[in-house]
């Protein structure tokens, strides 16, 4: 391959990257721009806000909105949901990918079937149940129902990633004297790290954006999550749409996620890979 075709191909890749980034970020840019307009120019369609106003961000972090606390609650709920779902799903996915047993197809179907019933239709029975056992306004009341969508997603994704790992590697490790568990932990998990990490991100985001359960299970401002807090944003009057501060809040719930992914992806992937038996 000549250098010129390589350069040509490189250029093509970069053009593709630019296209992908533009596609994903252009609407988000509009969100950012809208959040930086002052209330008066909220209807403007200029590409750069002028003057740039941080009033919407100040409004979001106004102490009465409790948005900082809400972000923290979201972090706790989505974080624990992700960890729990991944943990349970890893066991299950391992069995699905590596063990042969009866009813496997049935169980996989059942797991996905459960994630199909609309969340809205399971909230009220759960609300009654949780009221009875005193779980209203607790983290577990939000975490446990979130498992209904997080767990199937995690099980199915992990199963595909685990199955993609060649069996030979694991067996080689077992020949070397690893137990089945060790072989899994030291060989399969590191190799499937990108898949596990992606599953974690996707589960986390799904839980982070959950609204209905969080709204129904809490009535104390101190326990509300970010999406619930956003739903309570207001303009100065009932009819006025607080579009600017909603967009600001949208930016504020999205950006930390992305930064977190950036910071953690190397570390987590590295961590998962570190156990690899060389």
């Amino acid at each position: 391959m000549t250098t010129s075709t390589a350069r040509w191909r490189n250029g093509l890749v970069y053009a593709g990257v630019v296209a992908v980034v533009a596609y994903c970020l252009a609407p988000f840019y509009w969100m950012l721009v809208s959040s930086l307009r002052s209330t008066g120019d909220i209807f403007s369609t200029s590409l750069i806000p002028s003057p740039v106003s941080f009033a919407n961000y100040r409004a979001v972090f106004d102490p009465t909105q409790g948005f900082g606390r809400a972000l923290l609650n979201s972090l706790v709920v989505a974080g624990i949901t992700t960890v729990l779902a991944l943990l349970l799903a890893t066991f299950t996915a391992y069995a699905m990918a590596r063990l042969e047993f009866r009813f496997k197809r049935l169980i996989l179907t059942l797991i996905i079937a459960t994630s199909m019933f609309p969340v809205v239709s399971i909230v009220v029975p759960l609300l009654k149940l949780f009221t009875d056992i005193g779980w209203i306004n607790t983290y577990q009341a939000m975490i446990v129902p979130s498992m209904s969508f997080a767990l199937p997603l995690a099980v199915w994704n992990l199963t595909t990633f685990f199955r993609q790992m060649p069996d030979e590697l694991e067996h080689a490790a077992m020949v070397d004297g690893c137990t089945r568990g060790q072989a899994f932990r030291k060989v399969i998990v590191p190799l499937a790290a990108p898949g596990i990490f992606t599953t974690a991100i996707i589960t986390f985001i799904a839980a982070w954006n959950e609204f209905l359960i969080a709204l129904s299970m809490t009535n104390k401002p101190g326990m509300q999550t970010a999406t619930v807090a956003i739903s309570k944003f207001t303009g100065a009057t009932t009819y006025e749409t607080p579009f600017g501060s909603q967009m600001a809040a949208g930016v504020l719930v999205t950006v930390p996620l992305v930064v977190m992914v950036l910071l953690f992806q190397r570390r987590i992937v590295a961590g998962l890979t570190a156990g690899a038996a060389k």
């Binding site: 029975p125 609204f211 709204l215 956003i230 009819y239």
Partner: protein, 427 residues
């Protein structure tokens, strides 16, 4: 998760199916008897998110005076549908988490018929000092189920500068005068590209408000005194025709079919509209915009004279599954007192239910639109007070939208609407 919009979606989603699952479990709790308002102690006040920061200070005052009967403020999403969903969910699970509810005026019949709220002892409250149409919204089958805490009415915003320049001395009181004034203003060079009139015509609750206003302003009615639908009439047709014809001859700009309150405000403030039907909230915002000092308000025009507005606002009610109802009654009395609603008007510009406050000199100085608003509320007709309000307003939006977009003739739309309303009410 918009206020109006954001939350609506999710909240709706929430209630929608949510409740589905708990349906048949309501074992008869037998609340049909007269409720007794007993028990004192801590209660909760449940309302949409307070947009103005005036509610909590008021609650603090109450709590200071009643240390053993403290009120906790539970704020629901800003979106009205989301609020209703949460309240229904609370009622269906017979929870005592909510005590005093702040209800939108159109929900009273539904909440009363389902016995989600208690019938109130009428003599506890100064109903005679309140504006009559406002009090109407708090009754079901003659009984008092809620106490008005705030009101709202539509007004006609108009450009004083342009009317003056075109030689129109008075704001129009009829639709004919309004289009006549438009024709004159349109000849001015400044009026290039302007449209005459707009209201709220997107397919949502605002369309029901505007349809009802048009019909009432032409002498028709949506439902009769007993709540039976009555829209297939020549009067109602004249009302609907005003809107349909205005869309057709571009008196109303064609993009107004997508307008909610804020879109119309935007168009008016950027000088695209000569007349706009909107709520009082817009007044202070327009005062900060490009049309500052160039606009005024008047009562809504009608077919042969001043028209009538639909009513907005909120009423306070007691959740039937709550505890400490004696405290709840006292609290409602406190929140809806003339003195405290005056405070809400001063600090939060909420239109009060009391007639006297509209004539208060100091308040008029602060809110120059008060006299117009009083006239508007006094001539107002409540939107249909029926139990299945959700079905009724859906049908109204459905048929009105079809007529406005030219999908049906107005006569056909009204015939179909009459049929749909009959069915909804019979259900």
């Amino acid at each position: 998760m918009t206020t109006r919009t954001t939350t609506r979606a999710t909240a709706l989603a929430a209630t929608g199916l949510l409740l589905a699952a708990c349906g048949s479990s309501g074992s008869g709790s037998g609340q049909a008897g007269a409720p007794s308002f007993e028990g004192r102690g801590p209660i909760t006040y449940v309302a949409g998110k307070d947009t103005t920061g005036t509610v909590q200070p008021m609650l603090d005052r109450w709590n200071k005076a009643h240390p053993k009967e403290k009120v906790t403020f539970i704020q629901l999403p800003t979106d009205a549908d989301a609020q209703r969903q949460q309240m229904i969910q609370n009622a269906e699970t017979k929870s005592d988490a909510y005590t005093v509810l702040s209800l939108d005026v159109v929900w009273t019949s539904e909440f009363a018929a389902h016995q989600w709220i208690d019938k109130l002892p009428e003599k506890r409250f100064p109903m005679s000092k309140m504006l009559k149409p406002v009090v109407e919204t708090s009754r079901y089958r003659g009984g008092l189920y809620a106490v008005p805490s705030s009101s709202d009415g539509g007004m006609l915003y108009y450009r004083t500068d342009l009317l003056k320049k075109a030689g129109v001395a008075q704001p129009p009181t009829t639709w004919g005068e309004m289009t006549g004034a438009c024709a004159k203003v349109k000849r001015l060079p400044e009026a290039k590209g302007m449209s005459c009139y707009a209201g709220q015509f997107q397919k949502y609750e605002g369309l029901t408000v505007n349809f009802a206003e048009a019909v009432h302003s032409a002498g028709g009615r949506v439902t009769d005194a007993n709540g039976r639908p009555d829209v297939d009439t020549p009067e109602a047709k004249k009302g609907l025709d005003f809107l349909v014809d205005s869309f057709e001859d571009r008196t109303i700009p064609k993009e107004a079919i997508t307008y909610q309150e804020e879109d119309g405000r935007q168009a008016f403030q950027s000088g695209k509209l000569l007349f706009l039907r909107n709520w009082p909230y817009m007044y202070s915002l327009a005062e900060k915009s490009g049309v500052k000092g160039k606009f005024g308000v008047a009562p809504l025009p009608g077919l042969n004279g001043p028209g009538s507005s639909s009513l907005g606002g909120h009423n306070m009610a007691v959740s039937s599954s709550a505890r400490n109802k004696a405290t709840a009654l006292d609290f409602i009395e406190f929140m809806t007192s003339e003195e405290n609603t005056a405070t809400f008007l001063r600090d939060a510009s909420l239109a009060p239910p009391y007639a006297a406050l509209y004539d208060d000199k100091a308040l008029i100085e602060q809110y120059p639109y008060l006299p117009v608003l009083k006239e508007s509320v006094l001539r107002a007709v409540p939107r249909p007070r029926v139990v299945p309000y959700g079905d009724v307003t859906s049908a109204v939006q459905q048929e009105t939208y079809a007529a406005l977009t030219g999908e049906k003739s107005s006569a056909q739309a009204l015939r179909d609407l009459q049929k749909a309303l009959r069915k909804a009410v019979a259900r």
